[in-house]
């Protein structure tokens, strides 16, 4: 290997290592480019690095130690405890049986075997975590002792043999296996509810008494899932909760654990699944000659089928050993209910032997009385209810009601039935995620996550995804699934709820079939706020798979794509979007600041550049800045965005706007708009701008109307697009249709000022000045917009209100010295006053200023008197609008 290559590898490796595992993929995309060899090399190194279980990390070379750290003799006293015998030496410590002389009872004493800081801390951590647990199936911690500078844990002494000892003898009986699994599930359920994950569930950590009482030992590697923010020892916290630390025995580790990813309560359920499998089958489900082989098996292989056990038990094991953590059992209590139900079935039948079991169990389950019984007793285990319901038609209706009831009340998060939905779903509305955290500061997150998901799903071919502006009309409103489905014309609705706890966000999603109002799928995700980026990709992937869309690898990658790996950058971007969507002058300016900050955090963040471009493009329309100030910046940002990612529809659209509105390059503009639409057919804005800037302005009205209809379909509740549809009718001189369209728009949103003056514009163009004036006044009242004032002046001047028109003219001129007032508003009043020269002066100014809407206004009826004027013709020529 050349030194250069080695240096390059070293550089990329170090940067990648500092990133969260979830962010590495994206980073390597950037850093390695097309160099697959380099990438492979680095990925291999990273994989190796993440694998802690290696010779190098544990350089114990088999010297028998002469220095026994503890050599406690029988009858030796440690404080109030008298040693009876050495019970065993574990990975973390030595355990002695001792007598507590104060209470005259037997206890187990556990001493850390090493005196280094790490293991001591872990040791105490164990005690702290486990001491809070009180449960018949959890070994209880009595106290933490301290003698002769040594800490030790005093715990319950459990007589019996470990499950691993029992397993050495052979397969366990079916009933015993289920009994043990039930008890362990019960223990886990208790621990998980208290936020404690065991992380090392294995047969050696389970003691089974002669009475078949199973007790889980060693919540030794446990960590709290929910951290107490007041907890003082944050360094300890971070040390023990760091992803990438592989602790425990490989064969019982979950896929996420061996990958060095975050482990949670569901990982314990996997481990229990391995144990259950072992008890039933007598072999490990995943094994190999070496650790690496075992890991490969865990990650990639399906375990051999277990013979002669009930189908329901096979299903339970399969669900426990599901590699995708989200599709596994989501809680120990759900598992517990399934196991207990199964146990009851077996008890009812009096069948405990394996052989004859299966068919008879099946028979029992199809009996009506049993099913009814199941339904009423297993209400929190929908999984089971669904299974039963499938087996028995009588119960389907009950189960369905139950499903809905439970989802809406207690919320069950798992893979529900999609029996009612065999077909593919072609349209979806992602409703604004409800911010249930009570913290308005994360509103930008709930909104932003919604928007990111809309944008990701938009990339799925042949799926109509309703635009943000339409779905956000429902924000904070109570609308029924049916009415939303009808208004937006969608087959499915995705609802989301965000809850914040500390720096953890829990997002609950539910995909609902509009026709049946049944949940097709529901899922709960809990992540750190900093892990949102990968969460977004995950959600997009999950939702698309539940929509049954068949995606190619490239398409799936597009859907799951995240544009930055930097969580700060992502949040700043969302804040930018949040402001952008609220579209007032001040907020647009703030949006620019946020996008810029996002770029500072991640200079290669294509979406942030795109956001910047989209904001600058809007500046002239919103009167934030002139075109000459903002459009070149829009262009620069759009180009940078496209340089980083040419597939960004939004950036292409922004570039299209720049080219048509600022450069008057209609050919280039059309190309960009078309590319944008091609890249994301669900992006309504591109269709809208294309229809107006290119099609309507060059009098291709029918095409424009088609494009706007498509935009409207995507964004059915957008008043702007609806109004634009009317505008196109006005340009086409189809005034009556335009008036109808505007009235429809206003029926939906009576306070939409733009539609009021547009309606006035249609009336005025027809010569109906009083109506025009009335509507335009309403617009001005709602929003004192210069263009609305200009139109008011126009209609007033044309119908004898000259004095008021002059006042308006003064007002606008006055304002134009203070800030940015579109010249067209002033030109309008001069047109009304029939002062052609002044009007032409202002129009020229507008054209020279590249006022954003001038290409459109050029087709306006009020300019019809100017079309033969050479000065106006020159303007049209400049704008490449002269045929």
């Amino acid at each position: 290997m050349s030194p250069d290559k080695w240096n390059e590898i070293s550089k990329i490796f170090h940067i990648a290592l500092e990133k969260e595992p979830s962010e590495r993929f994206e980073y390597l995309n950037q850093a390695c480019g097309d160099d697959n060899e380099l990438r492979l090399e680095i990925e291999t190194l990273l994989d190796s690095n993440d694998q802690e279980d290696s010779f190098i990390d544990s350089p114990k070379i088999g010297f028998a130690s002469q220095i026994t750290k503890l050599n406690l003799k029988k009858n030796e006293k440690i404080g109030a405890f008298q040693i009876i015998e050495l019970l065993g030496i574990g990975g973390m410590g030595e355990v002695y049986l001792a007598k507590d002389l104060r209470l005259n009872r037997q206890v187990a004493l556990k001493f850390p075997s090493l005196n280094d800081e790490n293991s001591n801390r872990r040791f105490l951590r164990e005690a702290q975590a486990a001491a809070s647990l009180e449960h018949p199936n959890i070994c209880s911690i009595h106290e933490i002792g301290h003698e002769d500078g040594r800490d030790f844990i005093v715990m319950q002494y459990v007589k019996g043999e470990t499950l691993s000892q029992k397993l050495k003898v052979g397969v366990l009986k079916l009933a015993d296996s289920i009994n043990i699994a039930v008890q362990v599930a019960d223990a886990l359920s208790e621990a998980h509810e208290r936020g404690i994950v065991h992380r090392d569930i294995k047969p050696a950590n389970i003691i089974v008494s002669p009475q078949n009482l199973a007790i889980v030992l060693d919540f030794g590697l446990a960590k709290r899932i929910v951290f107490d923010s007041n907890e003082p020892d944050s360094s300890l916290k971070s040390m023990l909760s760091q992803p990438g630390m592989i602790l425990g025995t490989v064969s019982h580790m979950s896929p996420e654990h061996v990958r060095g990813q975050q482990v949670d309560s569901r990982s314990d359920l996997w481990s229990l699944g391995v144990i259950l499998y072992e008890m039933l089958a007598g072999i490990l489900p995943f094994s190999g000659e070496t650790v690496s082989d075992t890991i490969v098996s865990i990650l990639e292989k399906e375990p051999p089928l277990i013979d002669n056990v009930p189908d329901e038990l096979k299903r339970i094991v399969r669900k426990l050993l599901t590699k995708n953590i989200e599709k596994r059992y989501q809680s120990a209590s759900d598992l517990l209910i399934d196991l207990k139900n199964l146990r009851r079935e077996i008890e009812i039948r009096g069948e405990t032997e394996i052989e004859t079991h299966e068919h008879e169990l099946e028979d029992t389950l199809s009996g009506q009385t049993v099913v009814t019984h199941e339904i009423t007793t297993s209400s929190s285990s929908l999984e089971y209810a669904v299974t039963q319901a499938k087996k028995h038609k009588f119960a389907i209706a009950i189960a369905a009601v139950l499903l809905v009831a439970v989802i809406s009340t207690v919320g069950y998060f798992g893979f529900l039935s999609n029996a009612n939905n065999s077909g593919q779903i072609n349209s979806i509305a992602v409703m604004p995620f409800v911010n249930d955290s009570g913290n308005p500061d994360i509103e930008f997150l709930s909104d932003g996550m919604t928007e990111t998901l809309i944008s990701s799903l938009s990339r799925i071919p042949k799926l109509s995804v309703k635009a943000r502006s339409s779905v956000f009309r429902y924000k904070g409103k109570d609308a029924s699934t049916q009415s939303i489905g009808k208004e937006l014309n969608v087959q499915s609705i995705l609802n989301g709820r965000v809850v914040q706890r500390g720096d953890q966000l829990t997002l609950t999603l539910e995909l609902v079939d509009v026709s049946t109002e049944n949940a097709i799928w529901s899922q709960q995700y809990t992540r750190k706020q900093t892990d949102l980026i990968s969460l977004q990709s995950e959600i997009a992937g999950d939702v698309s798979s539940n929509l049954k869309s068949k995606l190619s690898g490239a398409e799936a990658a597009q859907v799951a794509k995240s544009y930055t790996t930097n969580p700060e950058a992502y949040q700043l971007y969302l804040k930018g979007r949040f402001n952008w969507n609220r579209g007032t002058n001040v907020l647009l300016k703030q949006a620019v600041d946020f996008f810029k900050q996002a770029i500072e955090k991640d200079p290669n963040y294509a979406l942030a550049y795109s956001g910047l471009a989209e904001t600058y493009v809007l500046f002239p329309s919103w009167g934030v800045a002139s075109s000459k100030e903002s459009m070149p910046m829009a262009k620069a940002a759009a180009l940078r965005a496209l340089e980083l990612d040419d597939s960004l529809a939004e950036a292409h659209a922004a570039l299209g706007a720049y080219l048509t509105q600022y450069k008057y390059d209609r050919v280039g503009g059309e190309k960009e708009y078309r590319r944008s639409i091609e890249l994301n057919p669900n992006y309504a804005t591109a269709r809208q701008w294309f229809a107006l800037d290119i099609l309507a302005s060059s009098r291709r009205f029918d095409e424009a109307l088609v494009e706007l209809s498509l935009a409207q379909e995507l964004d059915p509740l957008s008043p702007v697009i609806a109004t634009n549809y009317g505008d196109t009718l006005v340009y086409a001189r189809r005034y009556d249709e335009a008036i109808e369209q505007y009235k429809r728009t206003l029926a939906l949103d009576p306070n939409f000022a733009f539609a009021h003056y547009a309606l006035g514009w249609a009336y005025g163009s027809k010569g109906m000045y009083p109506e025009a004036i009335a509507e335009t006044r309403k617009a001005v009242e709602l929003n004192d917009d210069p263009i609305a004032n200009g139109y008011l002046g126009l209609w007033l001047a044309k119908s004898g209100g000259r004095k008021e028109a002059l006042n308006l003219l003064d007002k606008l001129k006055q304002e134009s010295t203070n800030g940015y007032v579109p010249g067209y508003s002033i030109a309008l009043i001069y047109i009304g006053l029939n002062e052609k020269e002044e009007a032409l002066n202002w129009l020229e100014k507008v054209v020279n200023d590249r006022s954003p809407t001038i290409v459109l206004y050029a087709a306006s009826p009020e300019l019809d008197d100017f079309r033969s004027e050479p000065r106006f013709m020159n303007m049209l020529k400049l704008m490449k609008l002269l045929e």
Binding site: F13, F55, D57, K60, I61
Partner: protein, 188 residues
């Protein structure tokens, strides 16, 4: 006699940290001797279940040869040298043991418990040594970092002091080298 030896080594170490590299040659036999004696002592007694890290031997050798009073710079240099020697001893031992076992049945080596016994499984030790040599050809410094940390038990600051680099750099070197070695060992 022990007293004189300690004096001699301490003097040698002082010269070493003063920049006199030739003194290594003078120092090595003393340290090697001691390490070998200790290693042999430990390797003789067979009690599985208790394991000792090689660094423990290095530390014990240090205490025997020099004692606590040495300045920390000297101490670090001692460990750097001892780490290298420890490596040699263990690899030699592994080679001998492998030779002794040749002809016997081939064991399926399970890394399951992550405990590697030089005696039972000498291949890992030899493979590690080979990989380290290969690494040294690409990147001498990083191979030194591994040697000092793995065989000498030096921490990042101490290694940094010996190599004249910052401890953060040591950590980064270690991360990369470790990952590289793991990959090598897995493939071998």
């Amino acid at each position: 006699m022990q007293r004189d030896k300690t004096q001699e080594i301490t003097t040698l170490l002082r010269e070493l940290s003063a920049g006199n590299r030739e003194t290594i040659d003078a120092l090595v036999p003393h340290v090697y001797d001691e390490l070998r004696k200790l290693a042999a002592h430990y390797l003789k007694s067979e009690r599985k279940g208790h394991t000792l890290q090689p660094t423990a031997i290095v530390h014990e050798a240090f205490l025997k040869l020099i004692g606590q009073e040495t300045e920390w710079q000297n101490r670090n240099h001692f460990f750097a040298i001892a780490a290298n020697l420890m490596r040699r001893i263990l690899v030699d031992y592994a080679r001998n043991h492998k030779a002794a076992k040749r002809g016997g049945e081939i064991e399926n080596i399970s890394l399951e418990d992550a405990f590697i016994f030089v005696k039972d499984k000498p291949d890992e030790m030899i493979a590690l040594n080979d990989a380290l040599e290969e690494l040294a050809k690409i990147d001498e410094r990083r191979s030194k970092v591994v040697e000092m940390r793995f065989f000498g038990g030096l921490n990042n600051e101490e290694i940094g002091e010996v190599l004249g680099i910052h401890s953060n750099t040591v950590l980064r070197d270690w991360n990369l080298a470790r990952a590289w070695l793991k990959t090598k060992l897995q493939n071998s």
